[in-house]
């Protein structure tokens, strides 16, 4: 068993694809950032929903009203998880285009894990369905099995973003590619884990805010589904989730920022991220006020809170993009130079071939039977049997009949059972085949040729 070997070079500088992008790079990046935010929103709700559902189900083991809450949360996952996946394809198309070299290289380097995303998502979804549709069936003694099912699906939901994140992270550091030994070793590159925890708490915060609106909305048939809660109670509960988790971001955020590898850290990045953080502080303040509000006033600021959250998400998304660009700007230039260098060589080679062709090939002067015979030499030799009858045998069959060789080569038959069929060489054309037929008869006409008999 052998692993690929690579000399530890500083930074690999591959060639880029030659074709231009289908639309402008900036438009593409804009589409990428926007589509990605829509996608990640549903990913957040999917991951946060499955975590909260399991959390409340466990809480519900001792306090039954939380069990029905957990069930209602689990039901929101059905739609959110499907949207997360299908809406992910669009940004994936864009990132494939804008960062072709970097993204695909990271994918290949973490290949097993990257491919594993497909079965992992399938199983995560199947277990989420199992969790949802056995809620009323697996009760009593089987309740524990039910909780484990939910827990397993949540665990799978936790793995998938980690793989994505590791790829997105790895692609930023081409200088490390030569050191990577698969998925697990690439976890050590850059600052995967701070990013991951930042993502997780963002998921929980957004899900909290979403659920505050989902269960707190007037049209929600609460009496039917969650009779043991009041509307205000539900609102407050999920505002609380959003608040405390966002508070944790005050730890994870700076941790993420200060562990970022220095290559892409710029002044702009600080400005963008710090303005995001400032808005977070405002949101936190409002959330806190809301939680403390008297019951009748609690719903009033829901939409404004979302808008502020939207601003945060947009700023953080922009920050991520700014960092990515800064990380890659130098390497992209190196790739562009290398590509240009190669293209020049390619062009020069083609020119010289064209010039050379004019003298020899075009007049047909270059072609000889010996050269054409290269096409046959893989299987035919004069005295030996390689993958076909020897030329001696051919000679005995076609001694005075070169046209027969041409005809056979254009449309070979199947005579001898011990060989695989001979491919047709019709595409070489009569002229070349005649040359090679004469050549074969010439080299095979040794003195002892008369001795060999046709074998069939």
């Amino acid at each position: 068993m052998r692993h690929l070997v690579l000399f530890a070079q500083a930074v690999p500088v591959p060639r880029d694809l030659e074709l231009p992008l289908p639309i402008g790079e900036w438009e593409l990046k804009l589409i990428l950032v926007l589509l990605f935010l829509v996608h990640i929103f549903f990913v957040n709700l999917m991951v946060g929903g499955s975590l909260l559902s399991v959390f409340f189900e466990i809480l519900g083991l001792t306090r039954p009203r939380y069990d029905s809450l957990a069930k209602k949360i689990a039901e929101t996952i059905t739609v959110n998880k499907s949207l997360a996946v299908v809406l992910g394809v669009g940004p994936l198309l864009c990132i494939n285009l804008v960062y072709t070299i970097h993204f695909y290289s990271a994918n290949a380097l973490t290949g097993y894990a990257w491919f594993a995303i497909i079965p992992l998502v399938i199983f995560a979804f199947l277990f989420a369905y199992l969790h949802k549709y056995t809620w009323q069936i697996w009760t009593g003694g089987r309740k524990r099995l039910h909780v484990i099912t939910g827990g397993f699906s949540a665990f799978l939901f936790l793995c998938i973003p980690l793989i994505f994140l590791t790829n997105i992270n790895l692609m930023l550091f081409p200088g490390k590619w030569a050191e990577v030994g698969g998925f697990f070793s690439s976890l050590q590159i850059g600052n995967v884990f701070p990013r991951y925890f930042h993502f997780l708490s963002a998921s929980l915060a957004l899900t909290g805010l979403f659920l505050a609106g989902w269960f707190g909305r007037r049209k929600f048939p609460r009496e039917k589904h969650l009779p043991d809660f009041t509307r205000v109670e539900l609102r407050r509960l999920f505002y609380r989730v959003a608040f405390y988790v966002s508070l944790a971001q005050l730890v994870f955020g700076p941790l993420l920022l200060f562990t970022l590898p220095g290559v892409g850290v710029t002044g702009t990045l600080y400005w963008v991220i710090l303005s995001g953080a400032a808005v977070v502080l405002i949101v936190l303040h409002i959330l806190w006020r809301q939680i403390k509000m008297p019951d009748e006033k609690i719903s009033r600021l829901y939409i404004p809170i979302w808008m502020l959250f939207g601003v945060v998400v947009l700023l953080m998304g922009t920050g991520r993009h700014v960092y990515r660009e800064a990380c890659l700007v130098e390497h992209k230039q190196m790739i562009a130079d290398e590509t240009a260098r190669f293209n020049a060589i390619e062009l020069a080679t083609q020119m010289s071939i064209r010039a050379g062709m004019g003298a020899g090939e075009a007049l047909g002067g270059g072609m000889t039977g010996e050269k054409v015979f290269q096409n046959c030499a893989a299987c035919h030799a004069v005295d030996r049997v390689l993958a076909a009858p020897s030329l001696r045998e051919v000679y005995s069959l076609y001694k005075d009949n070169p046209a027969g060789i041409v005809a056979w080569s254009k449309n070979p038959g199947k005579k001898r059972p011990q060989f695989a069929p001979m491919p047709s060489f019709a595409h070489l054309g009569d002229e070349k085949l005649t040359l090679v037929a004469d050549y074969i008869l010439e080299i095979a006409s040794g003195a002892d040729s008369a001795k060999s008999e046709p074998s069939d």
Binding site: M1, R2, H3, L4, V5, L6, F7, A8, Q9, V13, P14, R15, L17, L19, P20, P22, S82, L83, V85, V86, V89, G90, N96, L97, I101, Y104, N107, A108, L109, Y112, W114, F115, I118, I122, F125, L126, Y129, W177, A178, V180, G181, G182, S185, I345, E346, T349, Q374, N375, A377, A378, A381, R384, L386, P412, A420, P423, S424, F425, A426, H427
Partner: protein, 469 residues
């Protein structure tokens, strides 16, 4: 190709793609394209008869379809893309640049399809009567349309990727869509999907109805009628497809080696198509006349036949496929047609980033040969295991004894002219020699090779390196 090489030696890269694609097709055809219109029609029928039991039965069947299509169905669709991009990033990357808008549209259709699936299933028990029920049936109809549209686009894109388009001249997607086998193939796939959907729904009915119930009898009758009707276009499009394939072959494959294998393939295709059709018809007729007669397992027979048929069907690509990912522009090992002369003069290793040796010397011959194998052959061949192992291929030709150097060299030098489905060798004479050295070593010592995904073994630059790029 100038990417780190993902390489599944023990398994074969192409097998991975084949598995994912097959699972997707086997789910997508009968369960999505075929089953949605059938279920929608049955829902409409139940409403006409005012039959609540019937409606509830259809709800249960939809539940199964919903679970399967939103998990395995949707994800294997995405999976085809994941695997092809992993194995042939140069190809997918280039195709994306040409067909971005087509794929973008396909994506929008896909999003709509999934959204409609969710609406259709999740509102079933909420929109039960009056105009709401009509709306629900309408959603079902729309869903059927979008499922079919997804297939229509995908088959076109696949057809194009399989190299039947005259892209370098025309550079449009339409040349891919309107290749001569596209329409017959679409007709065939559609009626096939509809017919097998009948089988699948029938199979499910047995789980959700009581053995001698009237409900089961009526439902089986309905499904049988559906299958009977679709077997007519199924037969017609089979014949149509069977007739156009040889022409398409002749236009695309100019090599005689293929003609023998193709003749075989073509005969088998006719036989499987006929058996499948007969089985489908038989099931439908018995279902109509004696709905109780057919046991559950018997339904699996035509279904398995269908699977076999589709599998055989997919092999047509092997024939049409030129050695290109993109016709006349890029070969399947990522080498562009225009860069071939450079590699044949200077060698490919000096221009490959992710290899150990950038020049061949007498000291590193076997190792450099391994690099050459990886860069030039590994997209299509494994080393010594799996279905397309290069060692086995050579043993078929030259036997298990020591191979003849001159023969190997001649083979590699002419691999394209004697087997047009393989690209020309993109390297110089020194690299041919290294490759033969490696192949002969491989024959003696069948060692598995791991791709970049399993980690590099790093060697330091200052260690005696015999050549520099």
């Amino acid at each position: 190709m100038d990417f780190p090489l993902f390489f599944l030696d023990f398994f074969g890269n192409r097998i991975l793609i084949a598995i994912v694609a097959s699972v997707h097709v086997f789910i997508n055809h009968p369960l999505a394209v075929g089953a949605w219109p059938l279920v929608m029609l049955m829902e409409w029928w139940g409403r006409r008869k005012g039959d609540a039991d019937w409606d509830h039965l259809m709800y249960k069947i939809t539940f199964v379809l919903f679970i399967v299509t939103t998990t395995v169905g949707a994800l294997t669709g995405v999976g085809i893309w994941f695997t092809t991009a992993l194995i042939a990033p140069f190809g997918i990357g280039t195709l994306l640049r040409v067909f971005f808008w087509a794929w973008f549209t396909e994506w929008l259709v896909f999003v709509s399809e999934v959204v409609l699936v969710m609406i259709y299933f999740l509102t079933w028990k909420r929109w039960l009567a009056g105009w709401q029920k009509s709306l629900h049936i309408g959603v079902g109809a729309l869903l059927s349309g979008f499922s079919w549209l997804t297939m229509m686009i995908i088959v076109g894109i696949l057809g194009f990727m399989m190299g039947s388009g005259n892209w370098p001249e025309a550079r449009t997607l339409f040349s891919g869509f309107f290749n001569p086998i596209y329409i017959p193939q679409l007709a065939f796939r559609t009626s096939f999907a509809m017919g097998t959907a009948g089988l699948f729904v029938w199979f499910l009915l047995y789980f959700f109805t009581k053995k001698h119930s009237d409900l089961r009898r009526r439902a089986v009758r309905f499904v049988s009628g559906w299958m009977l009707i679709w077997s007519v276009p199924f037969a017609a499009s089979s014949v149509w497809y069977w007739q156009v394939v040889p022409d398409a072959m002749r236009a695309n494959v100019d090599v005689g080696l293929m003609t023998q294998r193709f003749a075989q393939w073509h005969e088998t295709l006719a036989v499987i198509m006929a058996i499948t059709l007969v089985a489908l018809l038989l099931a439908a007729l018995v279902g109509l006349a004696r709905p109780k007669l057919i046991p559950r397992v018997a339904l699996l027979i035509p279904f398995i036949l269908g699977v076999w048929l589709l599998g055989h069907f997919e092999r047509v690509r092997e024939f049409i496929r030129k050695p290109y990912v993109i016709a006349d522009y890029m070969y399947s090992n990522g080498v562009k047609v225009s860069e071939l002369p450079v590699f044949q003069r200077d060698g490919i290793l000096p221009y490959s980033t992710y290899v150990e040796h950038h020049t061949v010397t007498s000291a590193n011959e076997i190792e450099a040969g391994r690099d050459v194998f990886l860069v030039t052959c590994s997209r299509c061949h494994t080393t010594s295991s799996g279905v397309n192992a290069v060692v086995n291929k050579f043993e078929n030709l030259y036997g298990t004894g020591p191979w003849d150097d001159a023969a190997l060299t001649a083979f590699i030098n002419t691999m394209h002219t004697s087997r047009t489905f393989m690209p020309p060798f993109p390297g110089n004479d020194r690299e041919v020699k290294a490759l033969t050295a490696y192949l002969k070593e491989l024959q003696k010592n069948r060692e598995l090779l791991f791709g970049a995904q399993a980690g590099w073994t790093i060697r330091n630059n200052n260690q005696a390196q015999t050549g520099t790029p």
